[in-house]
Amino acid sequence: MSDSGMVNLTIEGRAVSVEPGTSVLEAAKTVGVLIPHYCYHPGLPVAGSCRMCLVDVEKAPKLAPACATAVAEGQVIRVHTEKARTARKGVLEMLLINHPLDCPICDRSGECELQDFTYQEGPAESRYRDPKRFNPVEDFGGDVVYVPNRCILCTRCVRFMDDVAHDPVLNVEERGDRAHIGKFEGKDLTHPWAANVIDLCPVGALVSKDFLNKARVWELDRAASVCTGCSQGCNLVVETRDNVVMRLKPRPNPEVNEFFICDHGRLNYRWMNRRDRLESPAIRGAGGYEAVDWDVATAGAARILKGKRVFVLASPNLSNEALWLLSRLIRKSGGAGAFRMPNGSEAPLPGVVDLALRADRAANGAGAELLGMTRSESPLGGLQAGDALLIVDHDLAPEDVAFAGRASAVVVAGTAMPAGLERADVLLPMCNVVEEDGTFTNLRGRVQRFLQAKAPSGLARPSWYVLSGLCTALGDSAEYFSASAVFDALATEHTEFAGMSYGVLGLRGRRIASQADAEVRA
């Protein structure tokens, strides 16, 4: 070991310097060498059993499993020697002897590690001439279906349930080539985080009921996003086809959700595709709502709000950008803003520190409070008679509807007409979270970006654009033409966000300094 405390070695001719105790497989990743593997997953304990990651270690007589071999000073690792390639080819041939070649009807096809590595370095043909093993498909409960014929027994699912979810449901049943994944008697994959086994499965053995036969993965477009299911702020990939969200997948972020998302977040996407959206700006006239131009609608809303105290009912799922623009509007009119936080029961993932489906079931409660909105069980309680009410994508409870009656005027900016609202004077259609760019602040003060994944519905505009237009119409001098510009202005005004920009946040986000420091001190 060198003086720096780092271990220096060579992998595929590239110099590597990593912390002691790092596996060869992880060390190789740092220099862009992906050693093929199946049973290894960075979020799970090492099994070392698929034998796919065998590499040549100079001076060692036998090939070593890269996942279970710790780096050593001066080690010389070769991944693509004849010996190592032959061994891995042998493993691939063995994995395929009982694996059906049903890729055309397999949901995993296109994102299957068995496909990928077979294309990369597997044998072109099998020498296997005997019948394949057959086991029937089994419902594992939750969102998970098990297709045992495709299973390669990597046991990632078993280890996830045992060591991460701490809910031992799965096991390896039988021995030899009869082995398959089984459930313990009377148990099902009902753990709130159980569907992660689908993402962990390197092949099509564990598939999602929700996504089953819905799309071929190569037809999907992908965008980085953040889950709106709770205040944890798990990082997501939103996958769409033809402007329809088909599924949500976890996006690794060691600071927030490691590699996982909960089932609640995973399956909470159908509202993103809802068809009863506000699609055109409108003004209420004698004959009901009249579709108008954006300019007319914005000017109309400004006319109504001007000179009045504006009370804002803002959804805790609005972006920081939208909330900040609202806070400017509130300040200017001397009004107030509030929101109600939807609630549910908390469901932790015990194997990961500080990761849970939180009781606060919205993404940006922390951001809303930081930007001056009041969290309340009765958010319209503070609405004064004569106030102009601006409802920004917030649902109305029956009692809210009664309160809303007190308002002198109602402007609705949002994705849909709030249920129960009798009348609004102006409707301003907004994009939902997967149709716009923005940032959320999670419960630990981590500010994270989400990116547009699909086209807006109808004439809807991004929330920051709608609200900055409204601010301008109300006399604000600044004009913004991108979400990042709004964020830059926000960061200049609020010290908590000082130094942040979309470039700085990247796709993993950054924590608000004061809060992080306060916790370190504590």
Binding site: M52, K62, G90, R129, R175, G176, D177
Partner: protein
């Protein structure tokens, strides 16, 4: 040879002296035959001195690997502040091997004494005897003897009145071959699925319950009291003069097509041909010996020319391209189909593979399917090459050696008896005597 026959004059009885003598099973009977003297001596000695005697004796592991026992014990660091464990591997499941079974059936106290000495020597207060699930009678004998030994204060919290704690427990397996692999055995003791663990860490660093553990075979531990009673030098003398590396006596389990199957206790280095033909009585009437698997089913199969040249110790067997292994000797005569025997062995390994490693899980089953197809007369010319290729994929690439053990009989049989396989593929008859079909 012990029970049920009289020993042969060329045998050297140490461990098997009391085989067939029901009185030796009882505590009183065992004490009358000199039992527990060695334990008394040992508990008065420094543990390092015991390890010294074992090292001097040259005793090597009798389970198959032949690792020097004294050296293995010396890996256990005294005063490391951790509880140490001794595991006795009584999961004798290797096809062809049945020596430990007889030790436990006839001299259970000898094993308990060996375990107690071993535990004391490595600083362990707990010894687990992991016994094979199918061993119902040996299990009963062991439990009876252990109850007697506990009641007499030989083992327990105040072993032999010395104030030292040596607890011995018998743990019954569920009948999995793989649980004879040392780390799978430890998982099984811990209540987990008996899957072998990745090494390192080795058991001496992190074994059962993550603590330093030594694991020894039944025969190894049973030899220990004799060595302590009579001295390391005495044991060391049981060797051929030109090979001091293999010492002592070895129990040979002989089965298959041989006139007198059974357990034989032989001095290391005895000529193998003489052993088979004279002591074991040679071939059955009208037959000829054709092939031998000398050390349990996991070692290379050899032909009679090699067997006649071989000497019965670790190095002597290695010299003819096979291994001493567990000395479970399977004899095959000219009335057997060697491909069929090899297919049967492969089927055993395919059944017993723990299913962790890809090459083993799939390879053992694939090997079996090919071999059974050849035996059924549906083999093709490419099958033999495929078998060798698959065997190569299965060798030296997995967590434990079960996969290698399946490949070994296949490769060695193809090296020495390829004609038998080719004949089945080309449908020619090679056997002069009708092949036994049962």
């Amino acid at each position: 040879m012990g029970y049920p026959y009289k020993p042969h004059a060329s045998e050297t009885l140490v461990l098997s002296t009391h085989f067939g003598d029901p009185e030796a099973r009882t505590l009183k009977g065992w004490k009358d035959r000199g039992g527990y003297r060695a334990l008394e001596t040992a508990l008065g000695m420094d543990p390092a001195a015991i390890i010294g005697v074992i090292k001097e004796s040259g005793l090597r592991g009798r389970g198959g690997a032949g690792f020097p026992t004294g050296l293995k014990w010396s890996f256990m660091k005294p005063d490391d502040g951790k509880p140490h464990y001794l595991c006795c591997n009584a999961d004798e499941s290797e096809p062809g091997t049945f020596k430990d079974r007889e030790i436990m059936r006839w001299t259970p106290h000898a094993l308990i004494e060996g375990c107690a000495i071993g535990a004391y020597a490595i600083g362990a207060e707990t010894c687990y005897i992991y016994i094979r699930g199918e061993f119902t009678e040996p299990l009963q004998r062991m439990e009876d003897a252990l109850a007697e030994a506990r009641a007499a204060g030989i083992v327990g919290r105040n072993a032999m009145g010395t104030g030292k704690t040596i607890n011995v427990w018998v743990h019954k397996g569920a009948g999995a071959y793989i649980c004879g692999e040392e780390t799978a055995l430890m998982n099984s003791i811990e209540g987990k699925r008996g899957n072998p663990r990745i090494k390192p860490p080795f058991p001496a660093v992190a074994g059962v319950f993550g603590m330093p553990t030594t694991i020894n075979n039944v025969e190894t531990l049973t030899a220990v009291p004799h060595i302590l009673n009579q001295g390391g030098a005495w044991y060391k003398n049981f060797a051929r003069s030109d090979n001091p590396k293999s010492t002592g006596t070895k129990l040979w389990s002989v089965c298959g097509n041989i006139a007198r199957p059974g357990n034989y206790e032989m001095v290391m280095g005895f000529p193998f041909g003489e052993f088979l033909r004279d002591i074991c009585g040679g071939a059955l009437p009208g037959r000829e010996l054709r092939a031998i698997i000398p050390g349990g089913s996991s070692v290379p199969i050899i032909n009679m020319e090699e067997a006649d040249r071989a000497l019965m110790d670790y190095e002597g067997m290695a010299a003819v391209g096979t291994m001493l292994g567990s000395a479970g000797c399977i004899v095959i005569d000219n009335a057997q189909s060697i491909p069929r025997q090899v297919a049967r062995l492969a089927r055993f390994y395919a059944h017993e593979s723990c299913a962790q490693c890809t090459q083993c899980r799939e390879g053992t089953a694939w090997t079996t399917k090919i071999l059974e197809r050849i035996v059924a007369g549906n083999g093709t010319a490419e099958d033999l090459d495929t078998l060798l290729d698959v065997a190569d994929d299965m060798t030296g690439k997995t967590i434990c050696v079960l996969s290698d053990s399946c490949a070994v009989p296949v490769v060695s049989a193809l090296q020495r008896f390829r004609g038998d396989f080719e004949a089945l593929i080309t449908k020619k008859t090679v056997h002069t005597v009708p092949v036994v079909v049962s």
